[in-house]
Symmetry: C2
């Protein structure tokens, strides 16, 4: 009986966990987390940039460093981590007088806030990518790029999903998620390397970049479908067809209605006289679209991407882009560092025998990731003498898009720890391997070096260089 | 026994409230809340701007409109509101399939996230104000402005606190908080009106603006002290002295060490080559300062303000300001709308007899607010023929700084509902009343109209026009 009443007494406290959490402690925890995130992102991003890799990869590795794999500065309760594992909580206890009793509540609230900030980060990232993707130019690249992109989505997806299910006995939904992560192509990395070896405006370069942009769009549709399957927990053919159609209709509908939206947007922005006259209406639009996408069971980021595509068609685009950049700079690193921090690479430690399966899965995914894209070069038709191998190799790096898949998958909770870590390893490795491979398959690249470095801007596909843009660009 | 075991079963669920809250529902709720906040802020801000009042006042009123007083779109659990009162929760239940069982957790998580976003908003606001306050110019305005500012802090603070304690029997801490809210002066409103009537560069205008800037700094120190008292719950003279000294030492220390900080900041920013090379190091600095301020029991915003003051002294200032503006545009409205939304103006409804005391308190605060600032004009010395009344009247509007007090007070939980609402009424009324009064006490203002409208930029005090800046400035 005393035991029962003790429980009864403690219930109100537990039920109102988030309300009773001392709000100034939560704020202090969030501030410290952001400081850690920004340190990790800048350290990793700058080092990565220095060795010629995209900053985003460094941000991810920085996240792995501060997260559950190594330093335990930024950890989340999802992974079964308790508060004693969080160095930030320990730091708050020693410096700010956080009591051990209040710690679980502050820890939960801090994790909730950082997770939502990270999701806002990826929403703004996709909005910015949409804002930088020019649809009309894209359509001019033509059917060639579309075929390559489709092959580059279908082949790795099918091989990855079927392989995981049959060889490793993974159940359908996580297997589909991993397969989907294999479809991504990082336009940032490829376009940067092509520009460095003077091949950006070659026929191969044009096809690769066009295909990479289309690939991004297809990938976002795939992600919306797969994310929805993960929420429902069942794969049924009717549902899959409904989701593919609704995702496509949503995106195409937004673009078709785009003229109405962007005319009203310009009219409203012109009328507003107080600060935020561009950013606030744009975010109202983007957040409503993100909400609508999630209401019809797709991913919020699809809505943000569609909103970006629509507003790209206005003459406010340049000014809006300029204002979105600092906001993205503040929020996007939260996403990439959080993805890294939540990834427990320890589950792939080869010294531990039980990790064997995860490691083999990682190796399998990497092989599928490489071969699945290299074969896409074979689908190029009617282009005698074209370097098909180069086109396939150019599609290999997964970069930021692959990470978005991994992040969304981890947040949905469908991926097992080894599978999640295997996907991250696949993304990191394909991204590391692509630049040297590309140089290899363009054997005469040295002679052409820097020939068309400055032609990048006239590029038909106008790639969203969001994630690789460096200060001096 | 079945009852006990039912409780036992439910405990894990309750304990992990925030973890189990469906994260995509929380995200949807946050997105909807932001849409509501942005709508309210733009609607209120633009209308306010149209009638010649500062946009921030409209944002507050917009917040009142969508909040607990009227529409119940944006409500928070603190006020004892349950989830059935939140229209956003109702909307999520009808459109997004949110279940009634999951609603309390989603509601709690959404409120936590919006509250922290609002606190990040006020941190960035104070960082931006710091970044726009030029210390050297301020020192040139001299002792005259300092005396006026000190009188404008001491008189209303003493009269308000003592009056509330003796006349209304309010206990010490809430009375001190309300007294502190009376000390603020809105530089934005006054400088705008002075510029409109062509008096910005008159002797009176110079003293008013200098005093308003110093008043802001004194006010932030007062707020840091009072906020700390509210946390501890006791007022003891030793503690007050410790807090005043530590707040002053913190601010002066930051400024004195500023040279070291801003040299390292510039050196680091120059080395960074990837995106966010300015904003991220600046935020790392600002957030660390905010954390330090809160660790030594002051307010986080004092740290952010100090960080802004320090970075103002670098040659990166202009570029940094430009990048911070869109971020502030995104986050600051969350603060002002949230302050309005949390204010229950219903407690001042004169039709309900029990509200009488709150109403009388509001009237008392308004009278003290006006008289307490008007008398400061009398402290001006050695300036024969100067318009002392005009100087006093120029100090009346509380504007954004008064709202920051009200918001921090409400968040700390020390203010009763009627007292909180009375403070908001005082801020609104003093802000509404100042522009016509100022025109009245400068009787010859029409003849001087627009004479020095364009001299604003050469103004010695370079006022932080953050909150009144309109697009065409």
């Amino acid at each position: 009986m005393p035991f029962t009443s003790a429980i009864n007494l403690s219930i109100p406290l537990l039920a109102t966990a988030t309300e009773t959490a001392d709000s100034s402690m939560v704020l202090a925890a969030v501030l410290l987390s952001l400081v850690v995130i920004y340190f990790a992102s800048k350290l990793g991003g700058e080092l990565s940039n220095k060795v010629g890799l995209p900053p985003v990869l460094g941000e991810l590795v920085g996240g792995v460093l501060v997260g559950v794999s190594v330093l335990h500065l930024l950890v989340f309760p999802e992974g079964g981590t308790d508060t004693s594992n969080s160095l930030i909580m320990y730091f708050l206890q020693t410096t700010a007088g956080l009591t051990p009793e209040a710690t679980p509540q502050v820890f939960a609230a801090q994790s909730e806030v950082i997770s939502i900030l990270s999701e806002l980060g990826v929403i703004i990232l996709l909005f910015e990518i949409g804002l930088e993707s020019n649809l009309k130019d894209l359509m001019a690249v033509g059917i060639q790029a579309f075929v390559v992109a489709s092959a580059g989505v279908i082949v790795p997806f099918a091989a990855g999903t079927v392989g995981l299910m049959t060889i490793f006995g993974i159940s359908a939904i996580p297997a589909i998620f991993a397969g989907a992560a294999l479809t991504a192509t990082s336009i940032g990395i490829t376009s940067k390397v092509l520009s460095e070896i003077g091949r950006l405006n070659s026929k191969e370069g044009q096809i690769i970049l066009g295909a990479a942009v289309i690939d991004d769009i297809l990938g976002i549709i795939v992600l919306a479908v797969v994310g929805s399957l993960a929420k429902d927990g069942v794969v049924d053919v009717g549902n899959v067809i409904y989701l593919i159609i609704s995702a496509s209709v949503f995106l195409i509908g937004a673009i078709v209605l785009g003229n109405v939206f962007n005319k009203s947007f310009v009219a409203i922005a012109d009328k507003l006289k107080t600060r935020g006259e561009l950013v606030i209406p744009a975010f109202i639009f983007a957040f409503i679209m993100a909400y609508l996408a999630s209401v019809i069971h797709l991913e919020a980021i699809l809505g943000a991407f569609a909103a970006g595509l629509v507003l790209e068609e206005t003459d406010k685009r340049k000014e809006l882009q300029k204002q979105v950049i600092p906001i993205a700079d503040m929020l996007v690193p939260v996403f990439f560092v959080t993805v890294g921090a939540k990834t427990d690479l320890g589950v792939l430690n080869p010294a531990i025998p039980t990790n064997q399966e995860g490691l083999i899965m990682a190796i399998f995914l990497i092989i599928v990731a490489i071969i699945g894209k290299v074969v896409t070069g074979l689908t190029v038709f009617g282009q005698p003498g074209i370097n098909r191998l180069a086109i396939g190799v150019g599609m290999i790096p997964r970069g930021e898009v692959g990470l978005i898949f991994a992040g969304v998958g981890a947040a949905s909770g469908v991926l097992s720890k080894p599978l999640g870590a295997a996907i991250i390893m696949m993304v990191i490795l394909t991204t590391f391997i692509a630049p040297p491979l590309l140089r290899l398959v363009f054997p005469d690249s040295d002679t052409a070096t820097n020939l068309d470095n400055n032609l990048g801007e006239s590029l038909a596909a106008e790639p969203p260089q969001t994630l690789i843009t460096t200060k001096d660009d």
